[in-house]
């Protein structure tokens, strides 16, 4: 038993010893591992530092080279500016020395996924005239600068889109600042246009500009000048010929573009200037037009509506030249008598040349001319401060303008105008009558399709005011998606 115990003790001792030995071996292993780890760490740090050192060196080098690159860039820039500048100014002039077109550089539109195009277009003017109040005799158009200093006469919200498969809808809401910088608002246009009439017909209805001549139906941001032509403001008034009504047009089945238009308008109001327009009140509150007290004769039948027929045709003279010619008329009653009527006739021409390899629509040359003749049957007004007889007022005038888009984004233009009429009893006080001439050079820069900066000088001469000089600087910007323009 004892022996057995001894054996047990000794074996237990052995076991202990064995364990102790094993513990010693473990320690050695651990130490070895620690050493390995330290060595690895050391290697890693060394590697990392090497990477850091090389990165820093690289950075240092690149900084140094960047500095020299910066210098090189500056040098190159100056050199390029030198090389490009004279080259551009010495660009060869186009074959044609005269002509122009304002709509081309702003064929603007970015339709998205929305149901309509929506855009906001603001045009403001700064400048001055030798006349104390340029709006009294010189600048008669409603979008013209209204005073010396700053004017904002057209901030336009334009909406358009397909209503359904049958109609397209258009609306133009114009905000503008009057002489006191108070905001005026006007529903310039709001109309629907048919999309699916048979027989090459198209109809539109609502408030819209009459298809008369070329510029009347264009919005100011398509114009090539700051102001409206004199003869248009005389025949159509400050606002242009527009009213509520309807228009049908027919594209003739011919190989050349020929379109017939017939518009019919309510004919009432100041936007139907020479028609059923009560005119402006005088000091005693009586409404007068061409000096006569007007009578609101109302609408007695279709004969009291205003009718506007037009024919337009276009020819491609060459691949690079297009000509559009048109003849228009407007017939209707006027409010200066019980049975007095007005007739307006006009012819218009637009010619454009564009280079076959035009870049963004440049270079181009265009020429636009309109001539108008108005016959206004003025009623008698024996009670007027100066008694006025029955008389026929005949007015005529024309403007002609040439634009040259001489390099991308730059357009230079010149407009000449003339207007006159027969003698009328009230002429001395009538700013819309009498002989007048105006010459207007203009320079327009388009930073992009969506903005423009325009500088215009007007030399004015009128039988009523003698000579006048004006300078106008205009800025326009356009936001949003604007429908594509017609030619």
């Amino acid at each position: 038993m004892k022996l057995k115990n001894l054996l047990g003790v000794s074996s237990a001792l052995c076991l202990c010893l064995n364990t102790a030995q094993a513990q010693e071996t473990n320690e050695v292993e651990q130490l070895k591992q620690q050493l390995r780890q330290m060595q690895e760490n050391f290697d890693r740090v060394q590697r990392e530092q090497a990477v850091q050192i090389s990165a820093l060196t690289e950075k240092l080098n690149s900084l140094a080279s960047q500095q020299s690159a910066e210098a090189e860039k500056k040098k190159l820039e100056a050199q390029l500016a030198g090389e490009l500048a004279p080259a551009q100014t010495s660009a060869p002039p186009p074959i044609f020395s005269k002509s122009w077109s304002p709509s081309a550089p702003i064929t603007v539109a970015r339709a998205g996924s929305a149901y309509m195009n929506m855009s906001f277009d603001a045009m403001m003017t700064a400048g001055g005239s030798t006349a104390a109040d340029p709006s009294s005799q010189l600048q008669l158009g409603d979008h013209d600068p209204v005073k010396n200093g700053f004017s904002l006469r057209n901030a336009e919200i334009a909406l358009d889109g397909a209503v359904d498969p049958y109609f397209k809808g258009f609306a133009n809401i114009v905000l503008k600042l009057d002489k006191n910088n108070q905001t005026e608002i006007e529903l310039e246009e709001a109309y629907a246009q048919s999309m699916s009439l048979p027989g090459n017909l198209q109809a539109k209805a609502g408030q819209f500009f009459a298809a008369f001549g070329r510029q009347n139906a264009q919005h100011p941001h398509q114009w090539a000048f700051v102001d409206a032509p004199i003869i248009l403001t005389r025949a159509f008034g400050p606002d242009g010929l527009r009213n509520i009504g309807a228009q049908g047009s027919w594209l003739l089945p011919l190989p050349v573009y020929t379109e017939l238009f017939l518009g019919v308008f309510d004919g009432q109001g100041s936007t139907m200037f020479g028609f059923r327009n009560l005119g402006d009140p005088d000091a005693s509150g009586k409404n007068r037009f061409h000096g006569r007290e007007t009578l609101n004769r109302g609408l007695r039948g279709p004969q009291d509506l205003v009718w506007t027929p037009r024919i337009a045709s276009s020819f491609d003279l060459t691949d690079e030249q297009t000509l559009v010619v048109g003849a228009s008329a407007a017939f209707g009653p006027n409010d200066t008598g019980v049975d007095t009527g007005t007739q307006i006739y006009g012819v218009d021409l637009y010619w454009k040349w564009k280079a076959p390899d035009a870049h963004e629509g440049f270079p181009f040359v265009s020429w636009q001319t309109e001539a108008l003749y108005e016959i206004f049957e003025a009623g008698a007004d024996a009670a007027a401060p100066m008694p006025l007889p029955v008389e026929i007022l005949r007015d005529w005038g024309a403007y002609s303008q040439v634009l040259w888009g001489f390099k991308p984004r730059w357009v230079v233009g010149l407009r000449g105008e003339y207007a006159d009429g027969n003698h009328g009893a009230f002429d001395a006080n009538d700013v819309f009558r009498g002989e007048r001439e105006r010459v207007s050079p203009v320079l327009t820069f388009y930073p992009s399709e969506f903005s423009k900066i325009r500088l215009q000088y007007n030399y004015d001469h009128g039988a009523q005011f003698g000579d006048a000089h004006s300078i106008w600087l205009q800025l326009e910007f356009l936001l949003g998606a604007h429908g594509a323009h017609k030619f």
């Binding site: 190159l76 050199q79 539109a109 998205g112 999309m195 573009y257 390899d357 991308p408 984004r409």
Partner: protein, 303 residues
């Protein structure tokens, strides 16, 4: 008298015959050229934009209204390529068959994966396109999609000749596939090479042929080059060893020449439209041949 009657009859027959053909109007010559391959003698074809013209800035001439008025099918690139001028023409054309959404209105961008779609619409970044880069037709890979779109539309609008259109499509696609392999092979040695363009019209072409066309003379789309930007481009060209500048006929060649001189590069005239340059009048495949050959030659020369 008899002669006159015969002539009249012949004219009448001709008119009837002419009427039987599908009357197609394409906005640009590249699309017209593919339409010709698909339509063959079953269609009459008119094109609006000139091949040398900037397709974004075409005048909406009244004569185009007449062409569109007679059309059975109008083919446009879409993706806003023609947005500045085509919508006004379609409005005036009085032709229900071709208004947007009608079967006769082919938008070739349908099914084309467009590149460079902007995340936000912001014009301070230049004249960007909401739908993506619209210059997709120059890619032969996209050319096949365009051909398919056109063939589908022809078949739908002229079912009597549907078989012919499909057969022509097959011929064209097969030819294009064979050519594509050859073109890719011709440009394979230059994979990854950097090429400079005036305007960002070439991302699809670059993708098809493994080229890198990411340097532009314009600082932003539609904004003319400034000396500061050009200087930057020249330095980048030297850095990336970009030795070839491509310029469309309607872009400013003088600017490209100046940059080429400074950067020791060569200017290669290119066009996206058959007929835009001499030697490309033969149509879409000849145009691609021209582009591949002239690029390969210039890249080989300017190692």
């Amino acid at each position: 008298m008899k002669n006159i009657i015969l002539t009249l009859l012949a004219a009448l027959l001709f008119a009837v015959n002419a009427q039987a053909k599908l009357n197609v109007v394409a906005t640009t010559v590249d699309l017209a050229s593919i339409a010709k391959e698909i339509g063959g003698d079953k269609i009459t074809l008119a094109t609006l934009a000139k091949p040398t013209e900037d397709p974004h800035f075409v005048d909406a001439k009244p004569s185009f209204i007449v062409k569109l008025n007679h059309a059975d099918v109008v083919i446009e690139g879409g993706a806003e390529l023609e947005i500045g001028w085509l919508p006004a023409l379609l409005d005036q054309s009085r032709n229900e068959k071709i208004v947007a959404g009608a079967p006769g209105h082919v938008n070739c961008s349908k099914g084309v994966p467009l590149l460079d779609v902007p995340a936000t619409l912001d014009r301070s970044r230049g004249d960007i396109h909401a739908a993506g880069n619209p210059h997709f037709a120059i890619s032969p890979v996209n050319g096949k999609i365009i051909a398919q779109n056109i063939a589908d539309a022809f078949a739908e609008n002229d079912p009597a000749n549907a078989e012919a259109y499909r057969a022509n499509l097959k011929i064209f696609t097969t030819a294009l596939d064979a050519k594509l392999a050859a073109w890719q092979q011709a440009l394979a040695p230059f994979k990854g090479r950097s090429i400079v363009a005036y305007h960002d019209s070439w991302p699809y072409f670059a993708r098809d042929f493994g080229l890198k066309i990411e340097l532009f003379l314009e600082p932003k789309p539609g904004i003319p080059p400034s000396p500061a930007h050009l200087a930057e481009v020249i330095l980048k060209m030297k850095e990336e060893n970009a030795r070839v500048i491509i310029v469309d006929p309607y872009l400013n060649r003088r600017t490209a020449d100046t940059v080429a001189r400074e950067a020791g590069a060569t200017v290669v005239p290119v066009t996206q439209f058959p007929g835009g340059l001499k030697g490309t009048e033969g149509g879409y495949i000849q145009l691609e041949d021209y582009l591949v050959n002239s690029l390969a030659a210039a890249l080989a020369e300017k190692k």
